[in-house]
Structure formats: C-alpha cells, structure tokens
Subunit: 338 residues, 2 copies
C-alpha cells in the first residue's frame, strides 16, 4: 500500500500532526524538523491522499462538465476544444475535471447533474450550450451550487456566465454578404430551444433591417447543428422558387453539410452561392472550400470558464461575473470574392 502521514510519523518519531504541518509549511514547526520530515517524506515517496484531503477540507478541488453529446457519431469537434480549455484552466488552479456525457434534454440529464451535485463529487459545474429555459441552471441556482454557464438564458435569473455575442456575429456576417451584393440571404438556424439560436437569429434580422431588406420567412429554417441537418436544410432552401444566393448557418458543422448539398447540385460554393458558418472549428480552415465563419475562441473560453468558476468556488468574487465577448468574422473562400 501507499505511504501515509502515519508511516512518516512512525519513521521520524514525530506525531502525525507535526508531520502534516511540516509538509504544509506551517511556520510553527522548527526549520530542522521541517527539513527532516520533508526529506523523509520524499524518500518514502509520500503523496497526500487527495480523497482524504477532500473529506477534511470539504472541497474536492474538482469541477464538473457534462458534455451535451448530441449523437454518437455526430458530436461537434467544438466540444473537444472546450473540454481541453476547461481542463487546462482547471489544472492551472490545481483543480481536476470530472466529465460525463448526456444527450441534451434527455430525461436522465437531471440525474447526471444530481449525481455530481448531491454526491458532492465536484465543487462547481460548467454548463454549456444554454437553453432558453434551462432547467440545469435553474437546478444549480436553486441548490446554491457554484456554476458558470457558457451562454445566457431567457429569464432574468442572476448567475455567472460567459457568452459570445451571437447577435453581433451573425449581424456582421449578413452585413458582409449584403455588402457583397446579396439580397436573398438564407439562415439555417440552430434548434430554437437553444438560447444562442435566438441571439443569432436576432443578428440576422437586425442586419436585414439595417439595410431595409425584407425578411422572407421561407429563407429562415431551423437546423439541428449537424452536418446531415445542414445538408438537408440547404436542400430545402435550394428547392425554393427563388433560392437564396447566400446562406448563414448556426454553426460550422451545418455549414459543411450545406456546402456539400450545394455542390451536389452543381453549384460552386464561393461563386454560385456564398456560405458562412459559426464557430471556426479547426476544420473550417481546411474544408474545401475553406469556410468563412464567425470565430469564437473556444479553447480560451473553456479556460476562462473554469478559472472564473474556481474563483467563485474559492469565494473570491470574480472581477467580471457576466462576460460577453465580441466575435470576429473570419473571411475565407466560401463567402466568395470581395
């Protein structure tokens, strides 16, 4: 078995308490004994038992994240970036990361969250892909459990979050397309139960209004954030009497699918039709044609999320409790030449 404080205590002839204090650098231990104890601990290969520490300190030094995995083989690569960011941010504060997966809106989602919260497995939770009416956040807030959300929600509930301004992002994209001369611009929206769907749609409308273009309801269509979904929806748009000459999608994955659908109909994306995505996942720059998209710095967001969450856990009131980042339009081939 592994070496404990007791083993060290026996070896050096001091009490367990003194050993503990020496190793934690308390200043009420003589320098000599401190040195001795540290040396022996090192020699014996001592490592604190994190679980025991957690029990005693009433703190697990762990944050939780439940990946809203949509479907087995259709998960958004975006979550890997986010996860890596959250994990690295936590690690930078000496916190660990506990991960589960659960299909969004699945009935057992509640159980997954309860498991983490009630079992006190973690000190706080990162909630991603917020919903307009988000029962996960409602639950955590009602439990007084530390959380931070990536995204806002529809109600006035007060909780810490970080979000990217999807309205501004899509607005920028649509304006850019209008500037290119497009008049009929389609929008393949994210599933409407997601909060960011509302923001992004608002950005779409705003840009049209700002240019006195009328909104044609036939051009706005709800997608499901997958390639297959984007593919199918693009088909619908192209089948219209008057198809759009440009399309903005709710995320990059749908943009990939949409470009595929356009190409299957013999259209050259970037020439016959313009496509703009949202996220800037790593592949966006490598897809063919390369994808013009609205960039969210996902890794950095993940990192920031866990760092703020940990501040909250530690009781340090964070400088900014509610942050909105401004996205950036990354112009590549799919939107056509300037």
């Amino acid at each position: 078995m592994s070496v404990t404080l007791k083993d060290i205590a026996r070896k050096v002839g001091y009490s367990v308490t003194t050993v503990s204090r020496a190793l934690n650098d308390y200043d009420d231990v003589s320098e000599e004994t401190k040195q001795l104890i540290k040396r022996v601990a090192q020699e014996m290969g001592y490592h604190p038992h994190v679980i025991a520490q957690s029990l005693q300190r009433r703190r697990t030094n762990t944050v939780g994240f439940i990946v809203p995995a949509t479907e087995r083989y259709l998960s958004d690569p975006y979550f890997l970036e986010l996860l890596a960011g959250i994990g690295d941010g936590a690690a930078s504060c000496d916190f660990d990361l506990l991960v589960s997966t659960c299909k969004p809106m699945c009935p057992k989602e509640r159980v997954v969250y309860e498991r983490m919260v009630q079992g006190r497995r973690v000190d706080g939770i990162v909630v991603a892909r917020t919903r307009c009416d988000d029962e996960r956040i409602a639950y955590l807030v009602s439990e007084g459990f530390p959380l931070i959300a990536f995204g806002r929600i529809a109600s006035e509930l007060d909780f810490p979050y970080l979000d990217v301004d999807g309205e501004e992002g899509v607005c920028k994209a649509v304006k850019y397309l209008i500037g290119l001369g497009h008049q009929r611009i389609g929008f393949i929206a994210p599933s409407t139960y997601l909060m960011f769907a509302e923001h992004r749609l608002a950005g779409y409308k705003l840009a049209l209004q700002g240019n006195s273009l009328e909104l044609d309801p036939a051009l706005v269509i709800e997608g499901n954030l997958t390639q297959a979904g984007g593919h199918q929806r693009m088909g619908q748009l192209l089948d219209l009497e008057e198809p759009p000459t440009a399309v903005v999608t709710g995320n990059d994955l749908m943009a990939f699918g949409a470009m595929e659908a356009a190409q299957e109909r013999g259209l050259v994306v970037g020439r016959d039709i313009a496509v703009i995505g949202f996220d800037d996942v790593p592949l966006a720059a490598h897809f063919r044609p390369t994808l013009t998209t609205i960039r969210q710095p996902i890794y950095d967001i993940g990192k920031k999320l866990s760092q703020i969450l940990i501040e909250i856990i530690k009781g340090e009131e964070p400088a900014e409790r509610q942050i909105i980042l401004r996205p950036e339009l990354v112009v590549r081939e799919s939107s056509g030449v300037r």
Copy 2:
C-alpha cells in the same frame, strides 16, 4: 448543508450504523425499519457523500483518462468520440471519469499521471495512443496500478490492451488500391514514436510484397497526424520526379490535408489521385470528396476500454485481457471509381 446519515439517524431514532445498513440493504435489518429509514432518507433528500464513501471503501469509483492533446487548435476529433465512449462505458458501471490533458511526450506528462495515481484520485487509467516505448505504461505497470491501453507497445511487457489491427487495415487499403491498378502508392506515416505507426507501415509493406511491388523509400514519409502535416507531406510526394498515383495516410486528419494539397495543384482527388485515410472520423463521410478510410469503431472502443478496466479494478479477471479488433475498409469517393 446537505443531509448525512447522522441527520437521518437523529430523525428516526436509530443509530447511524443501522441507517447505513438499512440504506445498503443489509439483510440483518428488519423489513419495517428498513422501509421507514428509506422513506425518511428519501423525504430528507439524502444522497451519500461519495467522497466519504471513497475514503472508507478505498475505492473512488472513478477512472482517469489523459487526453493526448496535440496542439490547441489541432486536436483530433477522434478523441471526443473516444472520450464519450470511455465516459459512457464508465457510467454504465456507475463509475465517473476524470479527465486531464497533456501534450504527448511532454516532460510534465509524468507529473500528470503521478497526480492521478499517487493521489489515488482514480482506481484505474485508460492510456491512449500507445508509444513504441511507452513510459506511461511502464510507470503504471511498475506501480501495479490498474490500466488498460488502447494500442500495443514494442516490448514484451504484459498488460491489458485493446487494439485495432492497423497492419491488416492498411494492408487491405493498399491491396485495394493495387487492385484498382495503382503501382506507385505513397504512405504518409504517423509519427514513428507511436506504436501504431509501426503496424500501419508493416501493413503497407506487406501489401506491396504480396503483389511483388518494390518499396520506393521516397514514397514513405513521416507525418504528424495533423491536417497541416498531411498537407505539407502530400506536397512533398507530389513534387517527386515520379509522384504517386495513390496515397494512404496514417489518419483521417492527414488525409484531409493531403486532399487539400492535391486539389491546390489542380488534381481531382478520386480521379487524378486516390487518397485513403485511417479512423473514419465523423467528418470523413462529409468531406469533399468523401474519404475512403479504414474504420475503427472509436466510440465502442472507448466504451469497451472502460468496461474492461473496471472489471480489472473490481478484481474480476476479464474474459479477454488483450483484444485485437479487425478494421474495415470503408470505400467512398476519394479512392476513385471501382
């Protein structure tokens, strides 16, 4: 604060011990008191304190996984599938999943593993992307710490693993290309420090030999598993005096990059040059052209990995300790017409 056994005991007038036994369905508690205690526990919203249970049971019911994240914005989507599989497999056994990330071969990798092992944060670890000489596995084995690897290693060390037969996979792919009439087939290999690089290269050689084709060293070139890498290496191959007419790559990401490079030179992939990848990540079916590739059922592999690991943790000798799966060639557009 949250309710403990003590709270319940006080309420029902029984000792903590009895409450504990009742809730754990010991059969030396009268049916009535059991019912009573369970009801009250339910009413009070009792949930066991997992950390305390861990300390007592000397088992965390948690498995660890360190994502070998290559570079911030270049991580392989493949790991998300694997992660989801591992997480779901663990959850199916009531285990949690603790995740860290670390650049492979990074000096601090050892520290990340030690943190999990020595701190007894987890009961076992899943090691992915095995290396020919894998110090992570050597470490875990030397510590007698439960592990399972996704992949084999070069030495004779005995440990449980699950692997996909990369040799057979690549061999199949190359033979398929030869059947299509290709004589000069390039191979963009994975980094040679990875064990599967060796297997896949062996498969390449085997297929050539089997068809009495000579191996031209200029056609075999080491890549780094990223799109950018695949792109650059494909450039090199195409710059040869006698460029290949077909190329197999060590993973799908490199295949994407390679196709990009070919297209930039005006080649039509699937007509002027054939490309075959390895993995079958979700995007492979949606890239343009769709990618012919050697399929590994990554999600299922992840699930199986954690389930076997947990069997080992529980001391149940698993039915199969070392498993080799046979991969399947998925033919799509990038390899050309039949």
